[in-house]
């Protein structure tokens, strides 16, 4: 059974972003999701942080403060091994969700 919650989708987006970019701060994640999705997906910027905090508590990501290219302090997030595994599961679960949705739509 696929998880159908929106939160799961946001988690998936963040995890995928981090796996593609290696290490990134919150703002960067927002930008990446926006560009990578060809401007189709826009994340509510505030809601990113509770999700990041929760993922950090769960041990999917870890973080450290560093300087950006423009010399500003920012908190950089990185996937952990647990996070990588979580990503695989989330992807699989999302595939199923999409498959299920398609089937539903076709049926109608």
């Amino acid at each position: 059974m696929a998880k159908t919650d929106i939160q799961g989708t946001l988690d998936l987006l963040i995890l995928k972003t981090l796996s593609q970019t290696g290490e990134l701060h919150g703002y960067g994640i927002v930008l990446h999701i926006q560009t990578a999705s060809a401007e189709l997906l826009r994340v509510e910027e505030g809601s990113l942080y509770p999700a990041l905090h929760r993922m950090e508590q769960k041990g999917w990501v870890n973080s450290q403060w560093a300087l950006t290219e423009t010399n500003r302090k920012a908190k950089y997030y990185k996937l952990t091994a647990v996070g990588r595994k979580q990503l695989q599961e989330a992807e699989k679960s999302f595939e199923q969700l999409v498959k299920g949705l398609r089937a539903m739509l076709r049926y109608a």
Binding site: H25, G26, Y27, L31, E44, E45, G46, S47, Y49, P50, H53, R54, Q57, K58, G59, T68, T70, R72, K73, A74, K75
Partner: protein, 899 residues
């Protein structure tokens, strides 16, 4: 560990908040910079960044809430807040905690008794499979009989399908002569060789008995005389751990030694029992709890022995065998025995099985259950009271709660806050309650009822403490639920709209009145219980036991008995005379069994009619006495004469009977000079002549009249039968102990003197159960009534405060102070009346439970109910007095102006 991390986050809260803030700032800065780079003005860029982000404070809260989802943070905050509330109002907190502590203490103390008496399994292997088998002579109205040796053998052989086996035991006392010439009285248990293996007694040293230790007696099956205990080799013995330590200092070399140098007691010691093995039987079964020495018994199989009932029998059911199936198998054995033997047939004897635990606690159970009920009531009342206090306080805090609600404190937050307060109060109350219970249990064990084996082990063990915690949670729920209902009402907002008055006090009134009525009803029921116990106790105090217990010293004299009757008679005479010569002693006698000290056993008696129809035999208790018994005990002689020294021989078949027996045997004529048949010293009943009728004595219990009784002389039984002596003294009987001891020592160095007790003390012990129940239920109900009075007071004073302006108006319109006063008292009495009505119903239903504790008192004793109703009305009136006085002293002008 994410859980661990969340909890550590709680403590590094400041750091975390700062970090979140930094990150939010960093994000906003980056977005602003990005916007500027995209061509916005700095202001526009900042505005856009904030808009995209949303409210930073809310976001921050949401991040923190990820931790708080765990609830730990909230709980801490709520508890801290609750604690601060109590600090602000310590009197309130102390009152509440004290009330709960009382309730919990009573419940826990009584529960510890319930646990050790009713719940804890007996200390044997698979105790739920053990049953006790008892004989029941239905025609003679006699039950709980032990088994004879041949009956035991028949039962064991006849019930093999449902039973793993049966074990028999009988206990007694024995004089043991040691090599150094000293005498010692020890408690002995004669047991079948399978006894320990059947019950699960562990052998510490040496070995257990086996079948070859006591081979069944090969006798003539139908000998005319019972088998005599003449032995060439004594059966082996196993020592109890405690006796082994006491007598032999725990030396392992004891195995193989002889128990005593005397020929008769020369049992070889083959083993030592592991510590703590007890024989758990109810006091009425007359079984020693802790025998010193266990001796293998030889079972005889001689029909003449069937009249000698001596073995207490325990059976072990096979796995999955139900009690009903076992009973029907045993019924078959009994039916067979009734066909075969006339004693079984004429007395209509049956064998009854009872689970061992149930058999043991049958007498104790009603009192324990009643006490548990009383304690539970007390706890309920305590909870009701606390609920009331919380409700009143809640209503005073109404505006605070409403404001918190308006400022965004959700209803759930308020509920949680109330629950936190309840938990904190209940927790503190439980801890203090446990402390009180611990002290009470110590007191209780001093108080313990004599001879109740299971009461010896009452203690605060982990199970009891666990249950105390459970009671605490139940209490918190009970008194938390009212306030929770209260704060979760949707109308809280209207408080703000109303003026300064606590308008919503009126809303909580119904709830509070309900709580107070419950309180009154419960404490009324409890007080009825106490009242009934008081009546019983007074009845018991005034019971005429048929003897005068004052200035009477009793003691047991055990001495080696000479083998010939004349010597025994002379020895008894010597003891008598030497005691009589003590100055201050006005009378000396001896009897076995002795009232309130020994167990009584029924014998068979009948009149002429029984000769032709042996089913006409009935049961009566017997007592063997020395001449002078009735005079020394001051038992009134009703007609005829009492025993003289000339009657004290085996040849004179003379008896004295009590008034109950006289009324039963010779209802229409004088009993003196009549003959009756009794079966005691001979295998078949013999004729004896009645020379006198005395008042009935209460022998085993003061509370119950007991059986009819026949008295025989020591001489009739062949002399030396009576061992418990009594002397009537002038002045304190206890002070005669030393001189009695020295006189007896002069008489014979081998005499053992034990159980020296003033008769007063025996009487006191006989009243112990009733007194204990009375004191405990009484104490509980006094506390309960105080709490209820406090509840009434609380409700009325809140009501007065809330109606101050109304009262002002009434007085301004001409109501007198008396009218106002009676208005408030009337309100209290209405509450009281409803509570009493409900309480009456509750008491009538529940007092059935204490029926077995009552002595000559009806469950629905009108006097008790009437008296307690009056008492309660007074108490309620008293509790309304102060609030009413306050109401009456309201100054109408001020009350109206404050509006």
């Amino acid at each position: 560990m994410s859980l661990f991390r969340r909890i550590t986050n709680l403590f590094s809260r400041g750091r975390l908040e700062r970090e979140i803030q930094d990150e939010v700032h960093s994000h906003l800065d980056l977005r602003t910079a990005g916007n500027i780079a995209a061509g916005m003005t700095p202001e526009q860029a900042r505005r856009d960044a904030l808009l995209r982000f949303g409210n930073p404070i809310v976001i921050r809260e949401r991040i923190v809430a990820v931790d708080a989802g765990l609830g730990v943070e909230m709980l801490f905050r709520d508890l801290r807040y609750a604690f601060r509330q109590f600090q602000r109002n310590p009197t309130f907190a102390i009152t509440v905690i004290g009330t709960i502590a009382l309730g919990i203490a009573a419940t826990v103390a009584v529960f510890s008794v319930v646990h050790s008496v009713l719940l804890r399994p007996l200390p044997y292997r698979q105790p739920d499979r053990l049953v006790v088998a008892i004989g029941e002579m239905r025609k003679r109205n006699t039950s709980d009989l032990p088994f004879s040796s041949p009956d035991f053998v028949d039962l064991e052989n006849g019930a093999k399908r449902m039973f793993e086996g049966f074990a028999g035991v009988r206990t007694g006392k024995m004089l043991l002569e040691h090599r150094d010439g000293g005498m010692e009285q020890i408690r002995t248990a004669s047991i079948t060789t399978n006894f320990f293996s059947l019950l699960g007694g562990k052998i510490l040293l040496g070995r257990d008995f086996n079948q070859t230790d006591a081979p069944a007696q090969v006798g003539i099956l139908d000998a005319t005389t019972p088998t005599r205990a003449a032995q060439n080799t004594a059966p082996p013995a196993i020592l109890s751990y405690e006796y082994w330590q006491r007598r032999y200092g725990g030396s392992p070399s004891v195995i193989g030694q002889r128990l005593s140098s005397g020929a008769n007691n020369g049992s070889e010691i083959i083993g030592v029992l592991a510590p703590g093995f007890e024989l758990l039987f109810p006091p009425r079964a007359d079984v020693e709890r802790l025998p010193d020495v266990w001796i293998a018994t030889r079972l005889t199989y001689n029909n003449a022995d069937r009249k000698t009932l001596m073995y207490r029998v325990i059976g072990r059911l096979k796995d999955k065998v139900s009690l009903a199936n076992a009973q029907s198998e045993v019924d078959g054995v009994a039916a067979e025995l009734r066909r075969e033997f006339s004693l079984w047939q004429t007395s209509d004897c049956h064998i009854q099985l009872q689970p061992m635990h149930q058999y043991l606690v049958a007498e104790l159970k009603p009192s324990v259950v009643a006490l548990m009920g009383a304690a539970a009531f007390l706890l309920l009342i305590a909870c009701a009271n606390v609920a009331n206090l919380l409700l009143v306080r809640m209503s005073l805090r109404e505006r605070e709660l409403a404001i918190r609600n308006a400022l965004g404190g959700g209803r759930w937050d308020l509920v949680r806050q109330v629950l936190a307060e309840a938990t904190l109060l209940a927790g503190a109350g439980t801890v203090f309650g446990l402390g009180i219970a611990w002290a009470a249990i110590h007191e209780l064990s001093n108080f313990a009822l004599p001879n109740q084996p299971l009461l010896a082990s009452v203690s605060l063990d982990p199970t009891v403490i666990g249950f105390a915690a459970l009671f605490g949670i139940v209490a918190a729920t009970l008194f938390g639920i009212g306030p929770v209902l209260y704060v979760s009402r949707p109308a809280l907002m209207t408080v703000l709209r109303s003026s300064g008055r606590n308008s919503l006090l009126a809303g909580g009134r119904l709830l509070r009145n309900g709580v107070v009525i419950t309180e009154i009803a419960l404490s009324f029921a409890l007080l009825v219980g106490a009242g009934l116990m008081l009546r019983s106790f007074l009845k018991l105090q005034n019971v005429d036991p048929g003897f005068d217990a004052r200035n009477l010293l009793t003691f047991q004299v055990i001495a080696p008995q000479p083998s010939n009757p004349e010597q025994r008679s002379a020895f008894t005479r010597k003891i008598h005379d030497s005691l009589m010569s003590i100055s201050g002693v006005a009378g000396v006698t001896a009897a076995t069994p002795f009232p309130l000290a020994d167990q009584f056993f029924p014998i068979r008696w009948g009149t002429e009619q029984a000769l032709g129809d042996s089913s006409r035999f009935q049961s009566a208790d017997y007592q063997v006495v020395l001449p002078g018994y009735f005079e020394t005990l001051k038992t009134p002689l009703l007609t005829g004469r009492s025993f003289t020294n000339a009657d004290n021989t085996p040849e004179r078949n003379l008896v004295v009977i009590d008034q109950l027996l006289a009324a039963k045997a010779f209802p229409h004529e004088s009993a003196v000079g009549q003959r009756i048949l009794i079966r005691l010293r001979t295998p078949e009943p013999e004729w004896v002549e009645v020379i006198g009728v005395v008042a009935h004595q209460r022998d085993t219990s003061l509370a119950e009249a007991g059986r009819e009784e026949v008295y025989l002389t020591d001489g009739f039984m062949g002399h030396g039968f009576t061992t418990r002596w009594a002397i009537r003294t002038s002045g304190d009987p206890a002070s005669y102990g030393a001189i009695v001891r020295s006189r007896l020592a002069q008489l014979n160095g081998q005499t053992v003197l034990t159980e020296i007790e003033p008769m007063d003390e025996l009487v006191r012990q006989a009243k112990a159960t009733t007194r204990l129940a009375f004191i405990l239920i009484g104490a509980f109900s006094v506390v309960a009534v105080l709490l209820a009075a406090l509840g009434v007071y609380g409700v009325l004073s809140t009501s007065v405060r809330q109606r101050t302006s109304e009262i002002g108006v009434r007085m301004a319109l001409g109501a007198t102070r008396i009218r106002v006063f009676s208005l408030i008292v009337g309100q209290g009495l209405r509450l009281g009346a409803s509570g009493i009505l409900i309480g009456c119903a509750v008491a009538l239903c529940l007092s059935q439970w204490i029926r077995s504790l009552l002595v000559e008192t009806k469950v629905a004793d009108p006097l008790t109910y009437f008296g307690i109703t009056i008492t309660f009305c007074l108490i309620v009136a008293l509790a309304s007095w102060l609030p009413a006085l306050r109401a009456a002293s309201v100054d109408p002008m001020r009350a109206l102006r404050s509006e």
